[in-house]
C-alpha cells in the first residue's frame, strides 16, 4: 500500500501520513458501516484522496500542482486489487539508491518495505529512536531534494543497481545472523518479495537460497552457548522444510543459468548441508567464486576445503600467500592447519592472534580451548 502511494504521490512523508490517516478513518468507519468489499483498494483510494486534500491546502507547494489535475476518485469506482499498480519494486530501487548512505539504504528499506517501525529498526541497529528518525528523515529529504527517481533502472544500469539492492538485503540478513534474529527473518521476507517481483533474475533467487540454507542450520550452530563446527553439526537440528525451500530457490537460479556470486555462495551453502561433505566440489566452487570476486576471504575458505579434500600442506601454502593479517578467521584457520601438521608452537601463536581479534564470547571460548589443548 505504501509503495503504491509513494509511487502515486512521489513523496515518502506525504504517503506515510496519508496512509496513517486512511487507517484512522477505517478504524472509525468500518466497525460502524461494515468492512468494505475490497479493504486494500478502499484504503489506497482514501489515502490518495486525503493526500490530494492536503496538497490543495498547501498550494504553495507548486511542484505538486500536477497532482491537482487528478480527478478525485469516488468510492463508487474503486479499482480492484489487480488494477492497483504494484510499485514495491520501484520502491526497493529507490530505497537502495547508491546516492544514499549505506546505513540509510538499510533503514529506509526496512521501514518502507519490511514493515518494521522506526523504533524496531532503531533497536535492531542499537541506536536511539531519535537518531534513527533523523537518519530516515535525512534520507527521505535527500530523495526529494536530489530527485532520486522512483523507477526500476533501465537494462544498462540494472546489473549495478540490482547488486546494490541485493547487498542491502544481505547486509540486513547478516546483522540478523549475528544474533538479532528478527532481522534475518525480515531479510528473508524481503528476498522472497524480490524473487516474486523479479522472477527471471538468477542472482535474486541465489541470494534467497543462500539466506534460507544458512538460516535452516541456525539451531545447529550452537550447542548451548558453544560454537559447533560445520563437520560436527547435528543434521537433525536443521530446519528441513526451510532447507528444501532454499534448494528449490537454488534450482530455480541454476535453471536460469545463474553463476553469479550469490548463486555460487548458495551452491556452496547447499553442499555444506549435505552429508558426507563433498569438499572437492566445495573447493571447485570457491575457486570459481574467487575468480569473480577476487576476495582473499574466499581464498581462505577454499584453503579450508583443500585441506579436507587434498592436503593440509597445500592448504597452508594458499593461506600463507594471503594478506589478511587483521582478520580473525585467517589466524584461526592457520592455527588449525598448523595443528594438524603437528607444529603446535606455531599453531598456538596463530590461535592467540585469532583470540586477540575475536569479539564474540562463544568464539573466544572455542579459541581458548584450542590454545589450552596445545599448551605443553
Amino acid at each position: 500500500m505504501l509503495a503504491s502511494l509513494i509511487g502515486f504521490l512521489g513523496d515518502f512523508d506525504l504517503a506515510e501520513e496519508a496512509a496513517q490517516e486512511a487507517f484512522a478513518v477505517a478504524a472509525e468507519r468500518w466497525p460502524r458501516e461494515g468492512t468494505p468489499a475490497n479493504p486494500a483498494a478502499w484504503l489506497i483510494t482514501t489515502a490518495r484522496n486525503r493526500a490530494i486534500d492536503r496538497i490543495r491546502r498547501q498550494r504553495s507547494l507548486t511542484a505538486k500542482t500536477k497532482l491537482l489535475d487528478v480527478p478525485e476518485a469516488t468510492m463508487d469506482e474503486l479499482p480492484d486489487n489487480a488494477a492497483i499498480k504494484d510499485e514495491r519494486l520501484e520502491l526497493i530501487f529507490t530505497c537502495c539508491h547508491p546516492a544514499l548512505a549505506p546505513d540509510a539504504q538499510v533503514a529506509l528499506t526496512l521501514r518502507a518495505l519490511g514493515g518494521l517501525t522506526t523504533e524496531e529498526i532503531a533497536r535492531a541497529f542499537l541506536v536511539s529512536e531519535e537518531a534513527m528518525k533523523r537518519r530516515l528523515s535525512r534520507a527521505k529529504n535527500k530523495i526529494k531534494a536530489t530527485g532520486i527517481p522512483f523507477t526500476v533502472p533501465d537494462d544498462h544500469r540494472l546489473p549495478d543497481r540490482l547488486a546494490a539492492v541485493l547487498a542491502v538485503i544481505y547486509l540486513i540478513y547478516n546483522e540478523g545472523y549475528g544474533g538479532r534474529g528478527e532481522l534475518a527473518g525480515e531479510a528473508i521476507r524481503l528476498g522472497r518479495l524480490l524473487a516474486a517481483l523479479m522472477p527471471d533474475e538468477p542472482e535474486v533467487h541465489g541470494l534467497l537460497a543462500l539466506m534460507l540454507i544458512h538460516h535452516a542450520r541456525r539451531e545447529a550452530r550452537f550447542s548451548g552457548e558453544e560454537l559447533v563446527l560445520l563437520g560436527d553439526q547435528d543434521a537433525s537440528l536443521w530446519d528441513a522444510r526451510q532447507l528444501e525451500t532454499g534448494h528449490t530457490a537454488l534450482a530455480r537460479a541454476m535453471s536460469l543459468r545463474g553463476r553469479g556470486p550469490y548463486v555460487l555462495q548458495a551452491a556452496i551453502a547447499s553442499l555444506h548441508a549435505q552429508r558426507p561433505l563433498d569438499w572437492e566440489q566445495i573447493a571447485v566452487l570457491y575457486e570459481e567464486l574467487h575468480a569473480q570476486t577476487g576476495s582473499p576471504v574466499v581464498e581462505l575458505n577454499r584453503a579450508v576445503a583443500v585441506a579436507e579434500s587434498r592436503s593440509v600442506q597445500e592448504a597452508l601454502e594458499i593461506v600463507d600467500g594471503l594478506e589478511l593479517d587483521g582478520y580473525q578467521y585467517f589466524h584461526a584457520a592457520r592455527g588449525e592447519l598448523l595443528r594438524r601438521l603437528r607444529r603446535p608452537g606455531e599453531a598456538r601463536l596463530a590461535y592467540e592472534r585469532a583470540l586477540a581479534l575475536a569479539a564474540s564470547e562463544p568464539e573466544r571460548r572455542f579459541l581458548k580451548r584450542r590454545i589450552d589443548e596445545l599448551s605443553p
Binding site: 507548486t62 546516492a99 536530489t146 530527485g147 527517481p149 533502472p153
Partner: protein, 114 residues
Amino acid sequence: MKYALLIYSKPGSHEALSEDEYKATFADYLTLADDPRCLDSAGLQPVETATTIRVNDGQVLTTDGPYADTKEFFGGYYVLEADDLDQALEFAARIPAARLGGAIEVRPVMEYES
C-alpha cells in the same frame, strides 16, 4: 530539475595527456556542453590564477590562491536540466575529469519561486 555538476580535477591530469589525447578530451568537454539539456558550462583557468576574498566586519581580506586547500581542484562546471538524479549522474560519468583521476560532485540547484 536543474543540477550543477562540479568538476574536481586531479592536478596535472589534463596536462599529462599527449596532444592528440588532449584534443580528443577537449572535444569531449565541448560535446557535453553542446547537449541540449546543458544550460550552462564553464572551464576555469588553472588554480594558480585564483584569488580568494573574505569580508570581516566590512573589511575585505584578499589572499592569493584557492579557498580550499585540497588535492583535487575545482576546474569547472556544467548546469544540466535533467528529469532525475540518475540522468544527471549518467551525464556526470561522461565528463573526462572523472576518468582522469578527478571526481564530479552532483548537486541539485536551488530553485526559487518567482
